[in-house]
């Protein structure tokens, strides 16, 4: 089993990094940015060097230079800031006076909306696959208002399928860490309505470890 992973993604990666640190698992990388900045192009490839291009990211750029060169398996949350999508769709529902996307568009159009909104993330996963990297990904453990949870899950399902199609392996931490209301309180940071704690991060690493024998 590898003794190191390469972490990349939004702020939810922090919980995984903390879990890795606590258990002595080595890691490279870390969180790149808030998820919304990963919705637009955020990197370029120079030869085989991965270069973050986000404004203000200068100090952390070297941490990701080896993303394509490293042999450590990648664990990513890129693209799974689904709470933003859920909030955007819920706002649209309100303005249109509907309760579900199916009152406004077909399932295919909804799927296209989701994939378009995460086009940069999908390109990122395709790029990693083309570089021959072994990639695992997980959903950021969103805690959203209940009315947003349904569309969040629907969007996640579409995105999970699309990312899986690039060859990346999904680590589904939701069973056991979430219920119909979202992330269980014991896996959430205290005094933070959004983010998960290292306990959740450990679940992700356990799922990853279990896949090493596949």
């Amino acid at each position: 089993m590898p003794d190191e992973v390469f972490l990349v993604g939004d702020s939810f990666v922090i919980a995984i990094a903390q879990a890795a640190k606590a258990t002595g698992l080595g890691y490279q990388g870390g969180p790149v940015s808030a998820g919304r900045f990963l919705e637009e192009p955020f990197y370029r490839i120079e030869q085989d060097r991965f270069e973050i291009t986000l404004e203000g990211s200068g100090p952390i750029r070297p941490l990701f230079h080896d993303l394509l060169r490293s042999s450590a398996p990648v664990i990513s949350t890129v693209g799974f800031n689904s709470h933003r999508l859920a909030a955007q769709f819920t706002a649209l529902y309100r303005t249109q006076g509907v309760a579900h996307y199916s009152e406004m568009m077909s399932g295919d159009v909804f799927a296209a909306c989701v994939l378009d909104a995460r086009a940069v993330a999908l390109e990122f996963y395709r790029m990693l696959a083309d570089a021959g990297r072994k990639v695992f990904f997980t959903c950021s453990p969103q805690r959203v208002p209940l009315p947003e949870l349904e569309v969040l899950r629907e969007a996640e399902t579409i995105l999970i399928d699309a990312v899986s199609a690039t060859g990346a392996v999904f680590l589904d931490a939701r069973p056991g860490t979430a219920n119909a209301q979202g992330l269980l309180p014991e896996f959430a940071l205290p005094e933070d309505t959004i983010h998960a704690n290292a306990g959740w991060g450990q679940i992700v690493l356990d799922l990853w470890a279990a896949r090493q024998t596949d």
């Binding site: 940015s33 998820g35 955007q88 706002a91 295919d108």
Partner: protein, 357 residues
């Protein structure tokens, strides 16, 4: 005996635009002037609805580019990329009907929308997907269920109602006389079943090459319905200059069939305009097909109208109908960023993570 004096006659008082030599032959293709005297003007604040054959798509686009209020009653979801907006046939016409080539099909859509006619429940099933026979390619892979077909159609019918009731101008481009129908139910199709989707059944699917009277008989109720729902609406008819892709009449040459189609449609459109003060006919067809233009606005396939042709027609269109000076294209719509605030906490967390070493 002195030579007989030329008597006064109606032609003596006519202007240069009335004579072929001065209006066309000597003016040259780009010197055509006064092609049409519009019955009404269109202001940039007027809501303009476009429907019809593919040429109407160009009209809608040109109106938008000139800053006119092309009324999109069934816009694409804001999250969809431009590529997918096209794939899913949004923003093509004012509502998502796809091409409406025939007057019979327009009548069917309108009567469904306003409850004058009960909708057909025919749905095509192919490779596990469901297709709407009145717009079989509106979604590239069809719909997931029969319910989705009718839900989507209900949205389009609602958009039609909204468009008709709010519009100041309804632009319709007549495209075809050859129309495929279901001879048992009377359902009018936009194209022959089996050509793109569906399965052709020779006993069920029949091509009717509508002549002048039946088209007129479809057009009259269309105009009545539009005015019933919106007494102030103006109707602007055009005939598509795009020739038929093919004729279904095996005995007939495509050119001959096309001439029949276009001349019949042109006659109906002209008579509707002559007979109603709220209906006008804009001669885009003539502007592209007259001998003096020598087919210069057609692509090498002798069918597609070039961008230059569209620009040429629309220049005349705006000259005829516009009130005001042209303005530039409209501002792009603002995209929602309502969820951004919720992520401020993420930025702080990331800074903390790296600060902690």
């Amino acid at each position: 005996m002195p030579p007989e004096k030329v008597h006064d006659n109606p032609y003596k008082t006519l202007s240069a635009r009335n004579f072929w030599r001065t209006a066309i032959a000597e003016s040259g293709p780009f010197g055509v002037f006064g092609i049409h005297r519009a019955k009404f003007r269109i202001s940039q604040s007027d809501k303009i609805v476009t429907a019809g054959s593919c040429f109407a798509q160009n009209v809608g686009r040109a109106l938008q580019n000139k800053g006119y209020h092309w009324f999109n009653a069934e816009p694409a979801p804001q999250f969809l990329s431009p590529e997918n907006v096209r794939r899913f046939n949004y923003d093509v016409f004012s509502f998502r009907t796809g091409n409406i080539y025939s007057v019979a099909l327009l009548r069917q859509w309108l009567e469904w929308a306003f409850g004058d006619l009960q909708q057909s429940d025919e749905v095509w099933f192919e490779d596990g997907r469901f297709f709407d026979p009145v717009r079989p390619v509106i979604e590239p892979n069809g719909f997931a269920s029969r319910k989705e077909v009718f839900d989507a159609r209900a949205r389009t019918l609602a958009a039609i109602r909204s468009a008709v009731q709010q519009a100041q101008v309804f632009v319709f481009t007549l495209g075809q006389t050859e129309t495929w129908v279901n001879n048992r139910t009377g359902l009018v199709y936009p194209m022959c079943p089996g050509t793109q989707k569906g399965k052709f059944d020779g006993g069920l699917h029949e091509m009717i090459d509508f002549s002048y009277m039946p088209i007129r008989e479809d057009m009259m109720p269309v105009l009545e319905l539009l005015r019933r729902e919106n007494p102030a609406i103006k109707v602007l008819l055009t005939v598509s200059p795009v020739p038929l892709t093919a004729t279904a009449k095996a005995e007939e040459h495509a050119l001959v069939a096309n001439t029949y189609t276009k001349s019949t449609l042109r006659a109906v459109a002209g008579d509707m305009a002559n007979g109603h003060n709220f209906v006008d006919y804009f001669p885009s067809y003539e502007l592209l097909t007259a001998p003096s233009f020598r087919g210069m606005f057609y692509a090498p396939n002798a069918r597609t109208i070039t961008k230059e042709g569209i620009d040429f027609v629309m220049k005349h269109f705006f000259k005829c109908f516009s009130h005001a000076e042209e303005i530039g294209p409209g501002q792009e719509a603002n995209r929602s960023d309502s969820a951004a605030d919720g992520e401020l906490v993420c930025d702080e967390m990331i800074l903390d993570f790296y600060n902690a070493g």
